[in-house]
Amino acid sequence: MSWPEALDPKGPEADAVAGLIWSFTGLCAFIWVLVMVALAVALIRRHRQSEDPLAVTIGEERRVEWIVGGLAVLTGLIVIGLTFISYGAQARIFGLGGGDVAIDVIGHQWWWEVRYPSDTASATVVTANELHVPVGKLVRLRLTSTDVIHSFWVPSLIGKADLIPGRTNTLAFTADRPGVYAGQCAEFCGLQHTHMGIRVIAEDDADFTAWKAGQVAAAHEPATPAQAAGKAAFLSNPCVSCHAIRGTTAGGTLGPDLTHLASRTTIAAGTAELTRGTLAAWIADPQGMKPGTNMPTMKLSAADLNTLVDYLMGLK
């Protein structure tokens, strides 16, 4: 079994928290052992006790009072020390100004809308359930929600922050090395709280720039007759009332933007890895894969389903 994510940090901010967890755990474990030793000795030590339960020696009681008083003071000093260690890490993590990459993350029941804002609308990236970030750059997330409270948590990179309707929280982190880091919603948000996964894909600058350019580009046009039929099926079914594909008439905003669906690694917020098979299964029976999801079951013919999946899998 591998090391727990929070103790296996992949960025300086997570590293600072991991250090804090270790120092607190070490000190607390040490204190616990001392208290247990004192308890064990108190329980097994054999000494004479008077027949009269009220016959206690005042002198000895006084001496123990001093010991207990001293321990109380020591406890106070330890917690003051821990408080300042905590403040140090807090300043380190939350004191970060600015940020090289700004990303808006918007919580929905039960998926994440992800936007890379830009001054020009055509350069704005809109995707879902995956964040691409460049390695070594400070990423600043702006978190909000359209419905209930969610919480963003990718333990390898950073502790969590809530997405609260009517408020915007921020979270800043850096990924040290390329990799795919998994996380999921940490605040109970309803029926499918369980299936609200998020992935952070950290890549070097060139890959990140290329990815971004790909996302800004228009949706791929159908390259085969099957894909063309799939596009027609998409546009003639209720899909369009919730999903958008830029460059088509589909402009729904209730569900994830599908312009570059096939460039993502999972479907239904991490419910399954994205393959042709899982996508077909998802469209055919979303309630079976993720009971309670807001995606309704489409009564598609087998042929329509097939061509639709062809089309969607072409949206790289």
Partner: protein, 644 residues
């Protein structure tokens, strides 16, 4: 000094003949008749005897413990393996909501109050609790609230919003239907019951202590109950406010929590946790009182640092109101504010540490007898200290961002609540069972019960710390195999089975001992406090003659004959009121007779609360029958003026 009269020549004789030193058998017989509850169903519904109500309260709370435990077992079965399809997400969400709600609102707080209702009047040496009819009312309201939510759950309309019911999820838009209303109304029921009990406890302890029981002679368990009662009085209004605003949002169409209309989603969290954090201590503090009593008795020496312990309790009581934001560290609270709550949350470790040190010092200075109650207390010390230390970790804002709402927190609060409250409670049951029933619980089964509980608990909950650090959030109904959480979850579920078995053994022990347990006698443990001065179980009048207290440990100070006072009426229910600080005998007052009105009032209150879920006007219309109930309750019964 074995006799002290509470009466004088001028005493009003309207209350009939008095105890002027008649033979004790005659006094006992007449008082038993005077204080007896009536028989049959009518007697069941009209009784105002704190022991009968307290026993009902305890049994009801334990039934809810078992129900909540069954829910936990089902959840552990579901989580034992990845991608398990044992239960649906909808049912799982109801399960954890009902588990948390039941354990917090229907078991933990009520069971501690239940023990207070039973024990406090006995421990302070009085004949009944203050406001005994309110006490009966409180029990019925609690019972109706618990029945309502469990019947709803059985009908598949159980709440599914988590035990702290965050808005907007619990609001009208995202929780249509009646589930959230039932949760919110259950809060109203239990809070009314808890407030009533708290008022009774405060008045009982401040005004009804046996003569001579000065403040510094009050047993520690009673001190903990007074501190807890005050905390309930100050904390519960916050949750009643929050749940009432939620009900208004849901049923009347207000927008207190709706950000789209200028409301605020975080308002709920502030109001709820302003209650919710003290709530944890409302559960824990009475348990520390049980710990102090058990340690004193089984080390056979005065508890070390009585004054330290009392001051620590009061300090915890105050500090617990200044910590609530540590439940909200990841909501984007201002840094400076969060830093304050880090410091205050850490600080509460000091008074809690003092208590631990005092108990260890007591054990150190005595010669512990390892009976089952003490075993549970030792288990408490081992588990609670660990849970307290992880609590210190959670006080740190950056650390909390990693573990908040993860299984680490689940582990932490089970360590403090089960370790800190359930272990002492089980110890308390083994300790006071002979007083309640007249029979001892089996010591051999008790040791097995403890061993299984201790091992099962740790195997079930320790791995959850690691699961939390590995990224497992709480309240998920399943997890993928690839997460790597399977092994630890399986271990936790196996531990849960062992832990559950310990409760089966406990139940078995209780059932078997009720029939065949060794007869206890008045004071089987040679304990020092007043509840052991009377028979087991105590007679309706508790004490034939009111004890006169000359020591913090009356039964150790007077091992042979306890000084008592005479002069109370024999054929009328009469009790002695004493002064708040010095406990000097002050006034003789009457205590209510059995009465049906508390039950009637509780029924109409219950019908009104439940009815208002379905139609808001019921809340207004219901005021009429409630008013009638209260008038009937308060109708003058013709008792004479209280006398000095």
């Amino acid at each position: 000094m074995t006799l002290q009269g509470f009466t004088s020549a001028q005493a009003n004789t309207d209350r009939g003949p008095r105890d002027i030193g008649q033979p004790i058998e005659e006094v006992r017989a007449r008082l038993s008749q005077t204080w007896a509850s009536q028989g049959g169903l009518w007697g069941w519904l009209t009784t105002v005897d704190h022991k009968i109500i307290g026993r009902r309260y305890i049994i009801t709370a334990f039934v809810f413990l078992l129900l909540g435990g069954v829910l936990a077992a089902v959840m552990r079965a579901q989580l034992a393996r990845p991608e398990s399809g044992l239960i649906s997400p909808d049912l799982y969400n109801q399960l954890f909501t009902m588990h948390g709600t039941t354990m917090m609102f229907l078991f933990a707080v009520p069971v501690m109050e239940a023990f207070a209702v039973y024990l406090v009047p006995l421990m302070v040496g009085t004949r009944n609790i203050a406001f005994p009819r309110l006490n009966a009312f409180s029990f019925y309201v609690y019972l109706f609230g618990g029945l309502m939510i469990w019947i709803a759950f059985a009908l598949n309309i159980g709440p599914d919003i988590g035990w702290f019911a965050y808005v907007p999820l619990a609001g009208p838009e995202f929780s249509p239907g009646k589930r959230a209303d039932i949760w919110a109304q259950m809060i109203t029921f239990t809070e009314v019951a808890a407030l009533a009990t708290s008022v009774e406890i405060v008045v009982t302890v401040f005004k009804q202590r046996a003569p001579g029981m000065t403040l510094d002679r009050i047993p520690l368990f009673v001190w903990t109950q007074v501190v807890t009662a005050f905390m309930v009085i100050f904390a519960m209004p916050a949750v009643m406010t929050s749940s009432t605003l939620l009900i208004l949002d849901r049923l009347v169409g207000t927008h207190f929590y709706n950000p789209a209309e200028g409301g605020d989603a975080l308002l709920w969290q502030h109001l709820f946790w302003f209650f919710g954090h003290p709530e944890v201590y409302i559960i824990f503090i009475p348990a520390t009182g049980m710990v102090s009593e058990i340690i004193t008795t089984f080390t056979r020496r005065p508890v070390f640092g009585y004054l330290f312990l009392v001051l620590a309790l009061i300090a915890v009581g105050f500090l617990s109101f200044g910590l609530w934001v540590h439940h909200m560290f990841v909501t984007g609270i201002a840094e400076l504010g969060a830093s304050y709550f880090t410091a205050s949350s850490m600080l509460i470790a000091v008074p809690n540490g003092i208590q631990i040190f005092c108990w260890i010092a007591t054990l150190w200075g005595g010669r512990p007898k390892f009976k089952t109650p003490l075993l549970f207390v030792i288990g408490f010390l081992i588990i609670f200290v660990l849970g307290g230390l992880t609590g210190v970790m959670l006080a740190s804002v950056p650390l909390d961002t990693q573990v908040h709402d993860s299984y680490f927190v689940v582990a932490h609060f089970h360590y403090v609540l089960i370790g800190g409250a359930v272990f002492p409670l089980l110890g308390g049951v083994y300790y006071w069972f002979p007083k309640l029933t007249g029979r001892m619980l089996s010591e051999r089964l008790g040791q097995w019960n403890f061993a299984l509980a201790f091992v099962g608990f740790n195997v079930a909950f320790f791995p959850m710390h690691i699961l939390g650090l590995a990224g497992m959030p709480r309240r998920i109904y399943t997890y993928p195999e690839a997460s790597g959480w399977g092994t630890l979850n399986m271990i936790a579920s196996i531990g849960a089975v062992v832990f559950a078995l310990s409760f089966v053994l406990f139940l078995w022990n209780v059932m078997a001992s009720l029939k065949r347990g060794a007869v206890a006698g008045d004071n089987p443990w040679d304990a020092p406090t007043l509840e052991w001065a009377t028979t087991s179980p105590p007679p309706p009048q508790n004490f034939d003659r009111v004890p006169i207290v000359t020591s913090r440990y009356p039964l150790w100070r007077h091992p042979d004959t306890l000084p008592v006072g005479t002069g109370l009426a024999l054929d009328t229910r009469e009790i002695v009121l004493t002064t708040v600080v010095e406990g000097r005998a002050d006034v003789r007052v009457t205590s209510p007779n059995p009465d049906i009105w508390p039950f009637i009032t509780a029924v109409v209150v219950g019908v009104t609360f439940i009815g208002s879920i379905f139609n808001g006007w019921v809340a207004l219309v219901g005021l009429v029958p409630i008013g009638i109930g209260l008038i009937g309750w308060g109708w003058p019964s013709g008792s004479v003026e209280d006398e000095s």
